[in-house]
Symmetry: D2
C-alpha cells in the first residue's frame, strides 16, 4: 500500500520550516526505501520525512538526527500522531551523533548546516553497496558543494533535479498560482552491488 | 515495498511522448492507489502510468484506455517487460470503451483529447465514494476546463499544482539545467466516504 | 536612455500588491512604448507600470485606471516621487471610465477584475492599427479567458509566456532561492499596419 | 525610444545557442546601459546581446569578445542586418584580448568558459565606479563561482535571480507550455560613485 503522501497540514509543525508534500514524495521514492530498510534522516526538522520513511520501512528503522530541541519535540509528537514506532531520535548536530548509527541502506539529508562534506564522509562509512543518499538543497552553495563532492568520488553515480511547485489557491472564482521555493534533489547511488 | 519510480529510460517508448518520472511519481502517489485498487488510466500512451499503477495495485486491476495502435503496442511491450499482468488494454477513444469499466477506485487522465468533461462525467458514474481522479494537464485550455468542471460539482474537492522539473545534465565539469515542460496535476476526491 | 528598471523598493506601495521589477520590465518592453506613445494602464494598482511607461513615453501620455482610492493615492505619490507629469489618473472600475480615452498606441492590463472581455472590446475601439495590448495574468481563469478572446479575433496576433522569477536571498554565507509567484504575459498586436 | 526587445527569430544564428529574448531584455535593462555607455560583451555568441546593447548605447561603443569563428561571422552579419555600427569585435578567448579594452561602464558576461574569476578581475580593472557587471549563468558551478567571487569583494553589491520562461505554443485549439532552460542573472554594482 502507498502509505506515502501525507498532506502538509496533517503534520504538527509549529514554526519549524517543513519540506512540502511533493518534495517529500519525490525524496522518499527516489531513496528507494523498502520494507526492511535502515534509514538515516539528517536534519530531520519536524520529522515529516522521517515519518514517511518509517511508514515505508515498516520492518526497518529510521534514525532521525536533529539538533534543535523544538524539532525533537515535533518529531516525537508527529511520530505519536501517526503511530509510527520505528523511529530513533538522535539529538545532535550532525555529523555528531552519527558514529552510533548501524549500517545504512538509505540516507536522506534535509539539512546539513555547513557540514555537508563531513556528513557525506560519515554516511559513506555506514552505507551498504547499492545504498542511496538523497540530498535536498535550497541554497546555491549547498547544491554546488554536493555536486563537487559527488564528482570527486568514483564510487557514486548521481542524478540531480530542481523542482518548483506552484499551488493553485482557490480565491473566489479564481485559481491563483502561489509559488513554493524551488529545491534541488540530488540522488546518489553507491556502487558495488 | 516502493516499487514506484521506474526511471524513464527503462520504458520502451518509440516516439510516443511519455510522462516524466517525477510527474508519474506524484500522479501515482496523489491517486492513493492501494493493493486492491481498481484503476482506469485514460490516454495511457506508452503505458508508463498504467504499469506503475499496476505494480501498486498488485491485487487490483488497471484498465488502460488508448486510441493509437502505436500506443497499444507499447503498453503491451512494457507490461511484458515489467512482468505486469493486471492490466487490461482497451483500444478506444475515450469516453468510448469506458461503458464496460467496472466500479473504479481511481481514475488517472493523462490525455483526454477534447473530451474531458464527458470523460469526467463517465468516470463519475463508475467512481466509488471517496475515489480519486488525478488529471495531468499540459495546456491552458485543459487545466481551465478541468477546474471549471470541478468548481461546478458540489460532490468533489480538488487540489491543483503546477510542477516544473529541471534536470541537471552533466556536461564535462558542469551541471547544466535542462528544463522539462511544466505540467498541472489536479487531484479530485469524490465525497461520500 | 533606458530609464527602465526601477527597483521594487523605490516605489511607495503600502499594502497594495505590486508587479515585480522583472515582470514590469518585460511588460513595458513587450508593449513597445515609444517616446510619443499614448498608453492606457488598466488596473494600475500602485502605478509602478504607469510610471515606467510614462518615463518611456516622455512626449506621450499614460492613462492610469484604478478603482481603489488607496491605489489612486499611491499612483499620485509615486508620480510625484519620480517627477513624472504625463500621467492622467482615472478613478473607475474598468471598462467604466474608458470611454473618455483618446486613441491608444498601447494598452497594458494588470488587473481586470472579471471584466476582461469587455475591457478588451473597449480597448479595441481605441487602439490604432499595429497597436499593442499586453496582459498580465495570475489566475488560470484569466489566462484562459484572454487566450480564448484572442483566438476568436482574426485581427490580432498574440504571443504568450509564463515567467517565474526566484530571488536569491543572501542569508549569512548562503544564497537561498525565494520564489515569486509565476505570471502569464500575453502580448497582442492589432493588425492593419 | 525602446529599441529593445528584438524577437529571437530576427537574428541570424546558425546553430550557435542564443540567449532568449526575455533574458536578453532583463540583462540589458539590469545593466543600465545609457546612450553614451561603453560596454563589453564577453562570450558574445551570435551577438544578440551586443546588438541590443549597441542600440541602447547609440553614442557609445560595444566590444564583443568571442572566440569561435562561427560566432564572429554571425556577429558581423547581425550587426549588418540591424544596421548597428558601434560594435567592435575582438576574436579571442577571454580574458585574452581584454587588455586592449578602454574604461568600461558596463560588462555583460554571457559565456566565460572556465575563466570567470580572471575575467571578473580583468573587468574590475577597467570598470568605472558605479559601473555594472551582469552575468548570465546556466550551470550550478558558474553561479556558485560567481557568487563566491562577489561575496569576497567588499567593493561590489550584487543581486541574483533565477528566471524560467515557458512559451505557450499554439497547437490547434490549445496553448501548450514549452519550457526554456532556466538561467541565473547576477547584477553587480561596483561601489564608489
Amino acid at each position: 500500500m502507498i502509505s506515502l503522501g501525507i498532506p502538509d497540514d496533517e503534520f504538527i509543525r509549529g514554526k519549524v520550516p517543513m519540506t512540502k508534500q511533493e518534495i517529500r514524495i519525490l525524496t522518499i521514492v527516489k531513496a528507494g526505501i523498502g520494507p526492511d530498510s535502515v534509514v538515516c534522516d539528517v536534519g530531520a526538522g519536524t520529522g515529516s520525512i522521517s515519518i514517511e520513511a518509517a511508514r515505508q520501512a515498516e520492518n526497518g528503522m529510521v534514525y532521525a538526527i536533529e539538533r534543535k530541541p523544538e524539532g525533537i519535540e515535533l518529531i516525537k509528537k508527529n511520530a505519536e500522531k501517526f503511530g509510527v514506532k520505528n523511529i530513533r531520535i538522535i539529538e545532535a548536530y550532525a555529523p555528531d551523533g552519527m558514529e552510533e548509527l548501524p549500517e545504512l541502506d538509505v540516507a536522506i539529508i534535509g539539512g546539513s548546516g555547513s557540514n555537508l562534506p563531513v556528513i557525506l564522509d560519515t554516511i559513506h562509512q555506514k552505507l551498504v553497496p547499492g545504498g542511496k543518499i538523497v540530498i535536498n538543497c535550497i541554497t546555491v552553495q549547498t547544491i554546488a558543494q554536493c555536486l563537487e563532492y559527488m564528482r570527486n568520488r568514483e564510487d557514486y553515480r548521481y542524478e540531480a533535479i530542481q523542482v518548483q511547485v506552484n499551488q493553485l489557491e482557490q480565491v473566489g472564482a479564481y485559481d491563483m498560482a502561489k509559488a513554493n521555493n524551488p529545491i534541488y534533489i540530488v540522488t546518489c547511488v553507491k556502487e558495488g552491488k
